[in-house]
Structure formats: structure tokens, C-alpha cells
Symmetry: C3
């Protein structure tokens, strides 16, 4: 795909070379995110950060990424009750709001809404999550994290062994991740879930057709042995008929340090799209893993900033100018030494 001036709505837009390009640019953003340098390449540009559904982390991550490039952020945080209650179409909303910024990130509760909005928008739109449908920047940051973690250990994305755990039926992130993994070679994917929460057949089928190996299990200990990456997920309670139904599955697959030590290869990387459910009855990833250096869940969210900076830079065509507008940081930064 061509990034310049384009919308980013779905992981289906990407070929392997596109992902390489995003990751290459994301790598160059690290010094800015770590506050070793400041860049003002987008000074004067405006991001319309339109979150028509509550969100803290994704919203702030996008806003922060734009600020780190020097741009300003105008924001909406919650349901756009007034105009929609007055009968405004998504077409009109898009025509109006796209007059206020250079690029828009949008989250909306309805599947397909962001693509519909993008069609009417006069500026590029990044899908920040349209209900149960797509959240492409999350998939990219997951894959970027996997690549960094395995390369750090001398591996590569090709030949990756990954176990996905939990609510594989409803989890938007594991679906998108399957789509992206399918672009690489020789994946070994283990899917661990209650039978009722299994990965939809279409994702499995696509992986297999492309020659990847997929094994299905309901046993945690067996599934997590012999993998490079454990990708744990939350029971998506909000997608069940009732809390009671969700409770049947909550806490089915708990990983803690003892289980990790017993079953996993050394340096198996642990990931999670967050938020992780740390309540006693869920506890997908126990807090005793917090000091395990292979727990990569916060490196994931940090990488999200890099990937979002890369998307902004590529779409607005400034990826080669970032350093030109850079300068040293003149304040004290604890994080730059991390």
C-alpha cells in the first residue's frame, strides 16, 4: 500500500513489505520516545483524536505519539451525543470534522463506522477501534513487539512459535494478529481456549491454506511448552450474554511464575493486549510475573507509541524529515536511561 495520504482502517491493507516499512520507521522513533531527542517535524499540524467511545490508553497513546512529533491534538472523549441525537449522519460528521485537522484517529462503537467515516473524510483517518471489528495499530504494535523480542534473542518472525490463550472467539486482537502472522513464513500457532471460545474457523483456515501449522488445545501447560511467545488474553465479558456466562470461563487459563518455570522454555516471552484482569477470579497473568524480564506487556504499550508515530510520519510523509527537525532534550528524563 501507499501510506502517503492514505487511511489505515484494516490489517487487510498490509502486505509484508508495508509492515517492514512501518517497523523500520518505528525503529527510528525510539530516541524520541525515550526522550534522548526532541523533534518538531509536525509543529503546526493538528490531530483530530475523535474517540466516540471511552478510552484512556489508546487515546492518550495516539495523542502522545502526535505530540512527540511536535503536533497539536484536538480531542473528543465520549459519545458525540448531541449531534447524533439530532439526526446527523456519519457522512456529515466526517465532512465537518475533517475540516478541523490534518489527520484523524477515530474510535467508534459500531463495526464499519470508521470506514464509512473515512470515505467522507477530507483527511486521512486511522481506525482506533470500531467495535468488535478492527484495531489495526494494536495488531501492528503486537507484531512489532514480537519481532523485537525474538530478534533480541537471535530469532526472527519467520518460523515463529506462538501460543494464543483465552477468549479466542471474541478477541479482536488475536484475530488481527493471525491475519498479520499469516504474511510470514512457517508459523507454528497453538490456540488454547475453552472449546466454546475457540478461534473462528476462518482465521485457522487462512493460516493453514498458507502452509502454517495450527494446533488446537484446551490444556495450558502443554500448549505453552515449546513456544517463543505466549499471547494471553482477557475473557471479553462485554461480548457475553451475561456476566454469569462469562464467569464460567474466567480464570480458566492462569499463568504464574511457578507454571512458567515448570513448563516454558527459558526466555519465553509473555504478552497481553491489556488491560489484564488482575481480579482474583480472573488473574490471567499473575502479579508474580511482574519481575520476570520476559514479561513484555509494558514494552508492548511503549512500542505502541513508536508504531503510532511511524503511522503518522508515513501518512503525512515526514518520515525522512524527523531528524532534520530534532534537537537535544533539555530537561531531566528518568525514562531515557531505561
Amino acid at each position: 500500500m501507499q501510506f502517503l495520504g492514505s487511511h489505515v482502517l484494516s490489517v487487510d491493507q498490509f502486505e509484508r513489505g508495508d509492515i517492514d516499512k512501518v517497523f523500520e520507521v518505528a525503529d527510528t522513533m525510539a530516541p524520541y520516545a525515550l526522550r534522548q531527542k526532541v523533534t518538531r517535524v509536525l509543529e503546526g499540524a493538528i490531530l483530530g483524536n475523535m474517540f466516540f467511545e471511552p478510552s484512556t490508553r489508546t487515546r492518550v497513546s495516539f495523542g502522545c505519539a502526535f505530540n512527540l512529533l511536535g503536533g497539536d491534538v484536538r480531542e473528543t472523549t465520549g459519545f458525540q451525543s448531541s449531534a447524533i441525537a439530532k439526526g446527523e449522519s456519519l457522512y456529515d460528521t466526517a465532512r465537518v470534522l475533517s475540516g478541523y485537522s490534518d489527520i484523524i484517529c477515530m474510535r467508534h462503537p459500531e463495526s464499519g463506522s470508521v470506514a464509512e467515516f473515512a470515505e467522507a473524510s477530507r483527511v486521512p483517518v486511522i481506525n482506533g477501534g470500531d467495535g468488535p471489528n478492527e484495531h489495526p495499530s494494536q495488531a501492528l504494535l503486537d507484531l512489532y513487539t514480537i519481532r523485537k523480542e525474538v530478534e533480541h534473542k537471535g530469532g526472527s518472525l519467520d518460523g515463529l512459535r506462538i501460543a494464543m490463550i483465552g477468549d479466542l472467539k471474541h478477541g479482536r486482537t488475536v484475530h488481527s494478529l493471525c491475519r498479520l502472522l499469516a504474511l510470514y513464513k512457517n508459523m507454528h500457532v497453538t490456540l488454547i481456549s475453552p472449546a466454546e471460545l475457540a478461534m473462528p474457523e476462518s482465521y485457522i483456515e487462512q493460516l493453514r491454506v498458507l502452509g502454517h501449522s495450527v494446533s488446537i488445545s484446551t490444556d495450558l501447560s502443554q500448549g505453552i511448552s515449546g513456544v517463543d511467545i505466549i499471547y494471553s488474553t482477557r475473557i471479553q465479558e462485554e461480548r457475553f450474554q451475561s456476566k454469569e456466562e462469562a464467569d464460567l470461563y474466567r480464570g480458566s487459563f492462569r499463568l504464574n511464575q511457578a507454571i512458567y518455570t515448570q513448563y516454558c522454555e527459558p526466555n519465553t516471552v509473555i504478552m497481553h493486549p491489556l488491560p489484564r484482569d488482575s481480579r482474583a477470579d480472573a488473574n490471567e497473568l499473575d502479579n508474580d510475573l511482574n519481575h520476570n524480564p520476559n514479561l513484555a506487556i509494558f514494552r508492548q504499550t511503549d512500542n505502541g507509541v513508536l508504531v503510532r508515530m511511524a503511522l503518522f510520519a508515513l501518512i503525512l510523509g515526514v518520515e525522512k524529515q524527523v531528524d532534520k527537525y530534532s534537537r537535544p532534550v533539555n530537561w531531566y528524563c528518568s525514562r531515557s536511561n531505561q
Copy 2:
């Protein structure tokens, strides 16, 4: 009026020369809004964007306009429940908040509240809508759009023929627009509404006293023939006793391409303060008008940014320095070619 350091609270503040000045400055803002250039003239200045009532478009439009001049925006988006529930007076709120910014835009549900706030404020205040009362920047952007549209066709504001349609009783925007039109010469105003939703007599009276021609009609097709501008409005459901009462009038005056073609002069401009109600039972302006080049409703909202930039520049006295702090845009802008 003198703009420098002044509040903008009501359209009654303006004489014709004041409006000319705002429009002249607004014209100079176009290259910045279209992203042909960036200016940093207000870098370091802070807008207090105080919206004590939900709003997306007006709030973001003001914030965007300030960012486009290089300034920062601090914002409140919703009812200031805490302090008011604790018994704070508007006087105190104004004294406190005006210590935090260089200029304030304020929306508040109560008529007269913004003027009361402004009296205690230590910085200039722009009324962003005080309930059913005033919303002067909307009236200015409407008039600015009319002027641009008719001048584009070789006409001028003097001698304008305009039809206002819909809920003329409750519509704040048509009331303010009447006040502004009255400042020009030889207006021909046609008012089309259900009898129960007629324009209040005082507005009609003022126009007539000043020598303008006002005709009143309940017939859409007749009213829209022979005008330069059609200004359609929404049934202001929230001002009726009940939804049922509003429903009696909803959809009374629907304009679509077929009606337009049959009754309007070529190039009759279609305006609407937005949001337009696109639900099937209302549909004031049909979506089949979306590709009619005379549909100016999105040019209206774009012009809103220019007019608000002009107000900020005039009140803060930087209208002549905007270009001095300008530079080229270094990112890719789809909109600059529009």
C-alpha cells in the same frame, strides 16, 4: 467596536464596518486553514475553551482555530458539576478561570451566563453559545459564507435575496442572521415556516423599519424560487414541550435535488447551520444534494475556522503579524488542493 482586548458576546455589538474588518482578516487566514502555510504567531498563548455544555463541532472549531495560530488550548467539556454543586458563583468561576488563559471561549446552557461571566473575567471572552440566546461566531460565519458565495457569482451582500426555512421561532442562528443582514442594504428576506413556528415579530419589524423587504410564506416551492440563498434549519426538538409536538412539524419543508431543479434559479446556494437532521422523518436537505456544487453547508463549517481565527487575531491584536510568523508546511496535505 474596538476588537482589541474586547469581549464578543452578541451580534448587536457589530456595525457594518466591524463585520468588514472581521471578514477582511478571515480572508487572510485561508492559506493557513488550507495548510498552504503555517503560522506560529500565538505560540505561547493559551485559549481557555470552556464548554459547560456538550459540544463537538463548535468546541473543536474554536480549538483548531487557536492551534492554527500557534497557541495552546486548555479545555472543559461538560457541566462543571463539582464547583457549581458546591455553590460557586459565576463571578468566582470567572475570576479563577480567567487567571489560566489569555482568552476564553465559553458555552453555557443559560441565557445571559456568558455575559455575566465576561463581566468578572480578566481576559476577553467569546460567547460560544449561551443557551437559546446568542452565538455570534455562528452568525458571522453564516454571513461570511453568504458573502463569499454571492461574490463568487458576481453578486454582493447589498440587494441579497434570501429564503429562511424551518423552525424560525426557535432557531438562534436565523435570529442572529436577521440582525446582521439588517446592517446591509435592500435585503429581500423570505420566511418559510409553519405558522406556529414563525419568526418572532421583533426581527421582522427591525428589517422592515430599516427598509428591507420581508415576505412570509408557508409554501416551500414558491419561497425558494428567485432567491440567491436558501438557509434551511432543523426543527429544534429540544425547545418543544414534547417530541410528539416537534414531530408535527418535522419534515414539513424538505428540499431535494428534484425540487431544487424544478423551482430554484441556477446556482442558488443552499446553507444550513448544521447538524442537519438526516433521519427519514426529517430530511430537511436530502443526501441527493451532496454532490450539488451549490450545497455550501460544509464550506460554512470550514469558514467557521477562518472567522474564529480572525476573531482571535483581532482581539489579541496580532492580525498584522500572522504572516511574519509564517513558514511553509512540511507535511503532506490532501486538503491544500481542494
Copy 3:
């Protein structure tokens, strides 16, 4: 304490020398807050302004202070419902959010929450109020105001005579202020409240142990005669079992110009942490005091910006570079002449 890279969570962190340092830096911020100069020393830095409880004045004050230093602000304004409802721990929230900014201000309804958050944060955290517990920047701005007001009249903090009035049981601000006053010499503190709303014994005890004089009274007129500072507070209705119980005490101690003239020494300074309850049944400080030049309540909130700028500058280590990045203001400022 060392400010560089440190959290500011409690007034108990401060020794007298630390406070002197904050005030010294706060003094240097006045030209920027008064818009005589602009500084861009923190251009490129990001404040995470995380208000997990509604707030307008404190939130905007912190954000404004950061903007005045040239930095950007990313913000949350309300309960972080989504992630917490999904079972996320404060530890996780802190690890994630601290990847998005250079420094965080946080307000949260639960006592101790901000300290718990700070422990997991990778960047410095300023406590913007954790329920009934601490709000250290408010205490600092109160003390800074007292110092400025009495020094203006030739006095000093040592030997200060102060009357605290109202709900001394629940008022977080008077508790913290007592802690800070205890660091100075020879305080004369008069505590005026209904017996049921008396200052908790521990605060009184600490003052007395350190040699300060504390007198307790239920009589307003007697208590306010012979003091330098009157510090009035609101009945903290939200901390009572019922509104009815709070009503028993509301309006117990009303100060107005007549009482002030009759009982106070000339130039006795009137303070209040705001919001003041101006409803007829409360009216702690009557509006007829608004033109009394000794009413310092709005100078307090203005001073809050200076103190918060000082905290940011000290924590991020730029307090000596502020002027280096300064330049003249190029827009019209009404406040610079105040």
C-alpha cells in the same frame, strides 16, 4: 528533599528549605504567568494530566502551568471506567500511562491511590488530590500566598497570626496547611469551628509540641480580631452522612464587610481554598468583600499557577533555564498590567 526526578505526594516530604526553594522559583515565574514574557523551556515535553475524578480548576491550573513552560498536555477527565471495570490494577495503569509522558499529575478519589500509582510509575508523579488525604500543591500555594501577602505588608511567616474557620474536621487544605506552618517559628493559630467540626487533635498536638500557640474558639468575632490571616473554609458537605447533617453547620461563620470592619485589624488578609459557597444559606465570605483589597482568594488561585510551574521546573530540572528560552509576548495582554 531532592526535587529532580522526584514524586511530590505529601506535604510531609518538605522541610523549610525545600519550601523556600519552591517559592524562590515560583517568584521567577511571575513574568511568564503575567504574560510579560513567554518561555518555551519545556517545548516537546508532555504532561500526563490524569484526573480520575472531575475537576476543572486544579486540572486546568496544572495544564496551564505546563503550557506556560512550553510543554504539551495529554489529559483524562473523569473516572477511567473502562480499564478499571475490566479489572486492571493501579500498578498496570501506572506502568502503561507513565510510558506516555514526562511527568504526571494525578487526582483519584481514593486515599493513598496516587502514592501507589507513583511507586509503579516510570516518571515523576505530582499528587493532585487523592480523596480526603493529600493535595500538596494546594498547601504550597496557600503558604506561598500567605508569605507574599504578609511580606507585602512588611511581615514574615515567622510569628504569623492566623485564624482558620469552618469545617476544620474534614478540610484537607487546613490539615496540610497546619503541617507546613509547623515548620516555621512562633505561629499563633486560632481554630474557629463548631465543636463537632474541630481540627483533629493530632494537628493541634504537632503544632504545640513544636512550640506554637494554638487557641480554640467557637466565636468568629473574637477569633478574627488580632490576626494577620483569616483562612475561611467551606462545610465539606460530601463528607457528611447526609445533606441535612451538613445543613446544621452551614452558614455558622459568615464573614462580611461589616463584621470585617468592626473586628479585624486593618489589612487583615482574607483567604479561602475555593470554591466558596455563595448560596444564601452558606455565604462563608459575602460578595460585599469582593472589592476589599485584602480579599486574597483570587490571588491564591493565580499563585497556584506559579507554584505549579515551580514544581514542574524543579522536578524536571529546568528552573535555571527558563529565562534562556524566553522571548517577548507579541500579543495584547490585558492581565500583564494588573
